[in-house]
């Protein structure tokens, strides 16, 4: 996947094309995730719905011209995963918003995915079901009701079944409830295929996928006295291969790596990744902007990608003192932190992700910008996800220069005028196809797909 000549092209957009201001809250995308093969994308929204898109098979795509076909996805299934609830004991409303979606590796005919809102995790099975109709019965059915007076029965008949069309259905297989006192921020499936973790603000629990009524607490950072609370867990993920290693990030900007082999309760971490803060940059907002919003392992487990408010950081698992690469995403906002604090944008949680081979990094920003950083060429591409100017022809790819999808000229970071940025347009959710240069970006009520050849 050499990216020297990579040219990111818009492929598809899903969702209504109404302006941001008119988007209703329930339609806003809150989670995006590719499955293991990349043939399916699941999105969750604030209305508790999950929509799955399926890759069109080659024969489905009407071959246009000679160009290699751009990947194309189509609607597969939609289902209501979570409903709004009310916790009567605590007098709290529980939102139906889908916080995270994780696919399980495909095991049989169906797909399985975990979805979670603030409190409850659910395991869904999505599969094609053949609709069968019973053709003959012993007792004639009239208007759906068995007739009252039994007709004499001379011989027993076995019902005949006729298969009609098949439909895709989603079925809740397990509900893992009542284990989290705080808001769940992430879930992650173990490589053993049997267990997963779920983390909330203060605790991480370990579950067996087959057991929904018990879980084990493996990390608990809740202080005895809540007034001494100084940090919360923001994200957690299992190592992609080593079943006993997981990491979690905190609001203080640290990433902790823990080993489940050592003890049942993993409060003692094995490694902590933390960068000394430059005292010169210290300000009122330092603590807020250093909070990590997302962490991801690279596929081989060698690197960790983390995102805080202003930067994207790549850590080598063998070096705890500082990241191997720190990429400023929107440094031009540094002067505007005060405004961002007032309109609460400073608390936005941007996700980050890596390409399948770990060579490229992706994260989102405001104004629907998203950044793709190439580790090898050190090329940072910035594109605006947009429904309108779709076909971006940008041949002037220059190393070290920025590209903006809509603009004809490559643009440098400092050329972006922070005053023209629309802060209501947030590209919060990102996902990378496990094998191809194909990315999905969730912003407001839209899902954008971009691909590079």
């Amino acid at each position: 996947m050499s990216s020297e000549s990579q040219d990111w092209k818009f492929c598809q957009v899903f969702g209504d094309r109404s302006p941001v201001e008119e988007v209703s809250d329930v339609d806003i995308v809150s989670a995006v995730e590719f499955n293991e093969t990349g043939d399916y994308i699941a999105t969750g929204d604030r209305g508790g719905r999950v929509v799955i898109f399926e890759r069109c098979q080659d024969k489905d795509v009407k071959s246009k011209k000679k160009e290699p076909k751009a990947p194309e996805y189509k609607f597969f299934v939609e289902f209501q995963s979570h409903e709004p609830e009310f916790d009567y004991l605590k007098s709290l409303e529980i939102e139906e918003k889908i916080n995270k979606i994780k696919w399980l590796n495909r095991t049989s005919g169906g797909h399985h995915l975990l979805t979670t809102n603030d409190k409850t995790i659910k395991l869904w099975r999505v599969h094609e079901k053949k609709v069968k109709q019973v053709m003959s019965t012993n007792i004639p059915v009239s208007n759906g009701v068995f007739s009252r007076a039994p007709p004499p029965i001379s011989a027993l008949k076995i019902p005949k079944i006729q298969t009609r069309e098949s439909i895709v259905t989603a079925q809740a297989r397990r509900v893992y409830a009542n284990a989290h006192a705080y808001h769940i921020n992430s879930i992650s499936v173990n490589s053993d295929g049997e267990t997963y973790i779920s983390s909330d603000d203060l605790r991480i629990n370990l579950w067996n996928l087959a057991v929904s009524d018990q879980s084990f607490n493996i990390v608990d950072i809740k202080p005895a006295n809540m007034e001494e609370l100084t940090e919360v867990i923001t994200s957690a993920e299992f190592h992609p291969q080593q079943c006993n290693v997981f990491m979690y990030s905190s609001s203080k900007g640290t990433i902790k790596l823990a080993d489940m082999r050592q003890s049942a309760l993993c409060d003692n971490y094995s490694k902590v990744f933390e960068e000394e803060e430059d005292p010169a940059n210290k300000s009122f907002f330092s603590e807020i902007i250093s909070s990590i919003s997302d962490i991801k392992f690279s596929r081989d487990g060698r690197y960790i990608l983390s995102r805080d408010y202003l930067t994207l950081k790549l850590w080598d698992i063998n070096m705890e003192s500082k990241p191997v690469k720190s990429i400023p995403i929107h440094d031009y906002l540094r002067s505007k932190l005060c405004d961002l604090y007032e309109n609460d944008c400073i608390f936005d949680k941007f996700e980050c992700t890596m390409s399948g081979d770990g060579s490229q990094l992706l994260t989102g920003s405001y104004h629907n910008y998203f950044h793709i950083y190439d580790k090898n060429t050190k090329n940072d591409v910035c594109i605006e996800a947009s429904k309108y100017a779709q076909k971006t022809k940008n041949k002037t790819s220059l190393t070290g220069k920025m590209k903006l999808g809509r603009k004809k000229e490559p643009k440098k970071n400092d050329e972006i005028n922070p005053d023209t940025i629309e802060f209501t347009k947030k590209a919060l959710h990102v996902a990378w196809h496990p094998r191809e240069n194909l990315i999905a970006v969730g912003a407001a009520n839209n899902l954008y797909l971009y691909a590079a050849q």
Partner: protein, 580 residues
């Protein structure tokens, strides 16, 4: 088809319900599949019902689970063993489904059917099925296959046996950890069916690979396999083939694996024999008792007695005992509780002298533990120690601690003590008991927890059985009688409960002299609950006294209560009168 026309109707409905939209009805119909099959007769069952069921395997898990179970005992309905092959088809599909419990049930049923399958068909049907499942695309079928090897293996030709061994090894190296887990879990069972020569030549390598698997969840299953395989092999073979794996597991980085070793330690000792236990395993055990992870120590602590019975006493005293001493002071309450639940069992192993010199102080310490469950576990096993060291020693050393616990803040601890009192009393003798424990028994009657008061009254009954009526009349009855003046009606009722329990053992004279006059006095209590309980108690007493007393004292009192203002008092008075 023997069924008459009139009887067909309910069965017709049942058949229709196999496809009803209501899952409960479907489930019900599946549960009565044998009724349907009986009505259809073997031939139609084979030709129509079974193919129909074949098409039904996309139902809800609950229905499939029931179906898997029913099919296991369906051989007689399809026409006996020679036709049992037709049942393999639906069960094969059921071994493929996603839900693990359904698959497990299907495998169980397949094993049941395999037993009755005629030899001539076995190879073509069952063996082929195992191979098909074992080579299935989805891992679910491969998991199911793992459970069938042990049944299939003994009944197939040598050629097929070879195939099965190769397939099993393949499954042990499957890419999916789930399949490796299933294979490992069934390795022990399969190993038992193999000739020793094949086992050591072909399966041992796989067994060792599984024990080194990168997934903790696979590795920890190796422990059980050690125990299973160890039983088949000789001591020298064990030393070379199994012991290294046990050693690796006992020192595994993952506490979960070490936990499994601790948990199965007795099995491992038995499997590898006394010699290896003495020379090698005991040192592992000592390490596990000192493990850094509390879960491991808990599991090991639970095996302390079991292991000590398997090794020479001096070894237990020299090597295990020091660890036990440490565990008594363990920082984890769960470890201490686990230890407390088994430590008493060491007394018979150690014998009287060593128990007194080494163990009693540990018992005492655990009896004073902060954590109620620890204390409780000790108290509930006092009997075992009693047998070894005798009541005198027990009284001297443990009694003060027991008395202290009798006033424990945790009512469950008090309850455990109460239940132990009659046993103690029978061994201590009247004088000793009156002096040390008599008062306690009475204070429990006024306990703030109902369960304690209830247990205390039952205790009094048992004590009366031990010490006799005279003693009861002299010590218990006056105390019980004095309670009726208590300002709280709940305590006044304790008198009534005590009466109804004691009446069964004290004899007519005491009832006449002490109980009935008091009951009559209490029948005018201002609280209705007390009054209707008086009525109830009087009713119970009628059976225990002569007719004259009933006529002179009980009947008039109850008659008066019949006119009580309170409905319930009236009701119980009437009920009691009917018994007179």
């Amino acid at each position: 088809m023997a069924a008459e026309e009139g009887e067909l109707y309910p069965i017709a409905i049942l058949i229709d319900e196999l496809k009803n939209e209501d899952i409960q009805l479907r489930l019900n119909a599946i549960r009565r599949l044998s009724t349907i099959a009986r009505a259809l007769g073997p031939e139609r069952t084979r030709k129509e019902l079974i193919p129909f069921l074949n098409e039904s395997v996309d139902d809800e898990d609950e229905v499939l689970l029931a179906l898997s179970e029913e099919l296991g005992s369906f051989v007689e309905y399809v026409g006996g063993p020679e036709h049992a092959v037709c049942l393999l088809v639906p069960l094969e599909s059921l071994s493929n489904v996603e839900e693990a419990v359904v698959r497990e049930k299907a495998v169980e049923s397949l094993c049941k059917i395999a037993e009755v399958l005629p030899n001539k068909e076995f190879e073509d049907s069952f063996y082929q099925l195992v191979v098909r499942l074992g080579k299935g695309d989805w891992f679910t079928s491969r998991i199911s296959a793992c459970g069938l090897f042990a049944v299939a293996y003994p009944r197939v030709s040598n050629e097929s046996k070879k195939e099965l061994r190769a397939l099993f090894v393949l499954l042990c190296r499957d890419d999916t950890p789930m399949v490796r887990r299933a294979a490992s879990a069934n390795l022990g069972k399969f190993a038992k069916q193999l000739d020793k020569e094949h086992l050591t030549a072909e399966l041992m390598g796989t067994f060792q690979t599984l024990a080194l698997d990168e997934q903790d969840s696979v590795r920890l299953l190796a422990v059980e396999n050690c125990a299973a395989i160890g039983k088949v092999l000789t001591q020298t073979e064990n030393t070379h083939l199994v012991l290294p794996t046990v050693r690796a597991c006992a020192q595994d980085k993952s506490w979960r694996v070490r936990y499994m070793v601790a948990d199965h330690f007795c099995d491992l000792c038995e499997a590898t024999g006394p010699e290896i236990t003495k020379t090698e395993l005991v040192s592992f055990f000592v390490k596990l008792l000192k493990d850094t992870e509390a879960e491991v120590r808990t599991a090991a602590a639970l095996r302390v007695t079991g292991v000590c019975t398997l090794i020479p006493k001096d070894m237990a005293v020299k090597q295990v005992l020091p660890c036990i001493r440490d565990l008594v002071n363990d920082s984890s309450q769960h470890v201490r509780a686990a230890l407390a639940s088994v430590i008493m069992g060491l007394a018979p192993v150690f014998g009287k002298e060593d128990t007194i010199t080494h163990l009693v102080e540990l018992f005492l310490q655990l009896l004073k533990d902060d954590f109620p469950e620890v204390r409780l576990n000790i108290i509930s096993k006092l009997e075992a120690v009693n047998k070894v060291i005798g009541i005198e020693h027990l009284a001297q050393s443990l009694l003060p601690a027991i008395v202290e616990l009798a006033e424990d803040r945790q009512w469950r601890v008090r309850l455990a003590i109460i239940e132990y009192i009659p046993l103690l009393a029978s061994q201590l003798g009247v004088e000793f008991f009156d002096e040390k424990l008599g008062n306690l028994c009475m204070t429990w009657l006024g306990d703030s927890v109902y369960s304690i008061r209830e247990a205390a009254t039952n205790n009094l009954k048992k004590l009366t059985e031990v010490f006799g009526v005279e003693w009861a009349n002299a010590t218990i009855i006056p105390k019980v009688n004095s309670l009726y003046q208590h300002p709280n009606y709940l305590y006044r009722m304790t008198t009534l409960f005590a009466f109804s329990v004691l009446a069964q053992v004290v004899g007519m004279d005491v009832i006449k002299m002490s109980m009935i006059p008091l009951l009559i006095r209490m029948s005018t209590d201002k609280v209705p609950n007390v009054r209707f309980n008086v009525a109830k108690t009087l009713g119970q007493l009628t059976a225990l006294v002569d007719a004259a007393t009933v006529g002179q004292s009980i009947r008039p009192c109850l008659a008066k209560m019949q006119d009580d203002q309170d409905k319930e008092v009236k009701f119980y008075a009437q009920q009691a009168l009917q018994m007179c």
